[in-house]
Symmetry: C2
Subunit: 514 residues, 2 copies
Amino acid sequence: MNGAESLVRTLVASGVDTCFANPGTSEMHFVAALDRVAGMRCVLGLFEGVVSGAADGYARMTDKPAATLLHLGPGLGNALANLHNARKANTPVVNIVGDHATHHRRYDAPLTSDVEGVARPMSSWVKTSMDARSVARDGAEAVAASLAGAGGVATLILPADTAWNESDGPAAPVPVAARPKVSDDALREAVSALRSGEPTLILVGGRAQRARTMELASRIAETCGARVLGPTSNARIERGAGRPRLDRIFYVVGRALEQLSDIRRVVLVGTLEPVAFFAYPGKPSLVLPPECQVHAFAKPEDDILDALERLADAVGATATSPLIQPLSRPDLPSGAITPETIGAVVGALLPENAIVVDESINAGRGVYPATIGAPAHDWLQLTGGSIGIGLPLATGAAVACPDRPVVALQADGSGMYTLQALWTQARENLNVTTIIFSNRAYASLETELHNVGATNPGRTALDMLDLSRPDLDWVKLAEGMGVEAARADTVEKLIDLFGQSVKRPGPFLIEVPC
Amino acid sequence: MNGAESLVRTLVASGVDTCFANPGTSEMHFVAALDRVAGMRCVLGLFEGVVSGAADGYARMTDKPAATLLHLGPGLGNALANLHNARKANTPVVNIVGDHATHHRRYDAPLTSDVEGVARPMSSWVKTSMDARSVARDGAEAVAASLAGAGGVATLILPADTAWNESDGPAAPVPVAARPKVSDDALREAVSALRSGEPTLILVGGRAQRARTMELASRIAETCGARVLGPTSNARIERGAGRPRLDRIFYVVGRALEQLSDIRRVVLVGTLEPVAFFAYPGKPSLVLPPECQVHAFAKPEDDILDALERLADAVGATATSPLIQPLSRPDLPSGAITPETIGAVVGALLPENAIVVDESINAGRGVYPATIGAPAHDWLQLTGGSIGIGLPLATGAAVACPDRPVVALQADGSGMYTLQALWTQARENLNVTTIIFSNRAYASLETELHNVGATNPGRTALDMLDLSRPDLDWVKLAEGMGVEAARADTVEKLIDLFGQSVKRPGPFLIEVPC
């Protein structure tokens, strides 16, 4: 058995059953081994940003890593932007990156580069296998590393000869340490904050945004008179009817400052202290009031469920009912296409158990509030601000959950970064309905240009934010990659197309001029 | 004047007149400054790989750097693959990368990452400006750094507050040291090799591939009975009728070994010792015979023209005529579409002074030989093996040379990495005719799978090399980005479409099933 096969067998034994791949010559032995090993599904992406974003979406839905298969430094480079998002989401990902054979690395061949250097900024664990007999063990360590702490990106670099040379066979899975319990001191501090009588916020992020943990947070908040909010950017929120409602800290700094102005205590659960997305001239980086005390109760890597159970118990909230969102859909709208009417269509028609992937940036701002009372669903967001995650994330979520409808809310500008994901959706016949918010602009930048103080922009500046001339035709782009698509110029057409698409299998794209 | 404006003015004063941009919030002041400063053309790309590849194409044609404008670590990450190619081509590029304001960098905001860490693997020079008064000087240094040595990638990181705070105004250009002359010792060694009586190869790469330097190399070779070849991957070859013919070292290791088997001396001019693109089990990394002596006569960063003039003089070649390729076009073909008939169409119809960008990988192998005697043209290639450069490179070359027709020979698989470049071609109305070699496969990998010894591949492995299911429709993809396109199912149709397109302004794409 060669090194590549020993690695594939080890990954499968360690619970990795899906590999998103964009392989090259150095990865051919890994690819060939897939036919000799049962239990690994391999999904091709036509660009590495699709691969890494899909791995993120897969793991957000399964809580276990997918593997990626990438080709040397440049292939990993193309994956970096979405690995950045995965890192900020604390998503476990195992990158397998081929490199030149160990004896070839000393030469300046065209594809030679510092692969570890490319990996490091977006990885919590990086290792290069030095021979075929180490590959299996290194692979098992990579899986464990991706699951360590709060979850992270582990990158294993595989020189080609470690793949083709003879190995000692697969390695046993490496055990992952249990998530640490929060200390009794932290618990006492949180109780004291909640009983301080001061306006208190429970900020729930990461793993605390699952239905069960949010119910506990809601019980605690109801008992102690506290508020509950989530951060601006979130990996996965379980929400909708039958679950607690979770509002988020506003993206716009001025609005966030106002939203949090009365807060004097914050209990952090599964997240860190909130900071502004960007700095602006004359505005603070921290959005909490300066006089607010911050209590880091449960860190992202802690056992969040245990922490909240103990906190609920300590404040006597166990018997308190959580605030549960009733089923409440908006009426089907009519009239012009606006962020509000698009939101109403999605809110009225979103199927039960859907997965919503939101990279709609400005244009989709009507959808989150309009789906508060929709049937229970998951909400996945851009976490690291690196646009171009939406279509890949939806792809990976659909691979992870083949029986659930996936709805991708996609801004046109960010969609263009990784539009190749549509091809994978077609090839794998994934149940993804994509709504393209086609405003033909980097609309968020029009606001940001003003926010940073660059006033009275001229033609050249405005051209850099303008995606018209020529207009993108997303129907043709989707069809060019084998995905059926149509344009919804009216709300009625959107109702018709969206209502049909979420009920039928396979991908569909709806371009909505807005 | 704020820091951003001081930088733009400095870049213009330093000779940088073109900026390929994909900006975000942190870059808004730079963008706004463009309207206040004359002399900088700003070209928008919808993905950063387009931006970096276009900057490479621009500089290959002008011998001076373009700027790129990129958004924090992830934006730079998306640019890395084509920066890798630029680095291997010794192309000068000046990256301007926005980062969070200095006071915001200490927080773990969503877009925070180690930007310098992302830059380093593909840059020869990296610096972060620490305040607005340093930005102009740092920008002038970045331009000089990109032109230092053989040319390279300089990355200047610009925290947002260095852009918006008050500066001291623009900085003067930083002088670039002249290219060093080769030593008299190196000259004597080369003369001795050429007069050794042993079979000698003059390997010309980089700046030695211009018509004038190749004429000198040809004179020297004719005088001394030596051969002339180029490396496998080349940044820019001036070739065609009226110029010396340049054959290249074969990509396939077995063929390269055979091609070079009789060589006992190699005189390197503007390039390093040739190595195999990849390592393969049981095959050598070095393609020259072990008994061959290598003479590093002129390094890539040396004054190549001076070196060849002195060498020609020293061996008495000044009066020798170079071997000049006469005008010789193939006849217009008929029959089935094959690599050979596609090559004949391009060879028969390539207009004078064209720029050919070749990322056709396997499928376009017929074009290089068929254009040997076409009217004088430039030939630009993938230099670093990082696929996805073709469409951006053609875009940048067309921006650099608006009066020259550009022909992009593009494999379908590699074209998909950076297809967004087509939109920029449409927006800027660039004279680019793209031929998509639509074989619906990573065809090169089918060969490579065999070459690395992964025999008898199964369905899963073959699926990873297969781009059908669904078929890509490049006509729709192009039209979706505003580029006119058509499919050529017959040689006659290809003749018609290609012949028309190269004569008219603006972009056009021809999908050729092959």
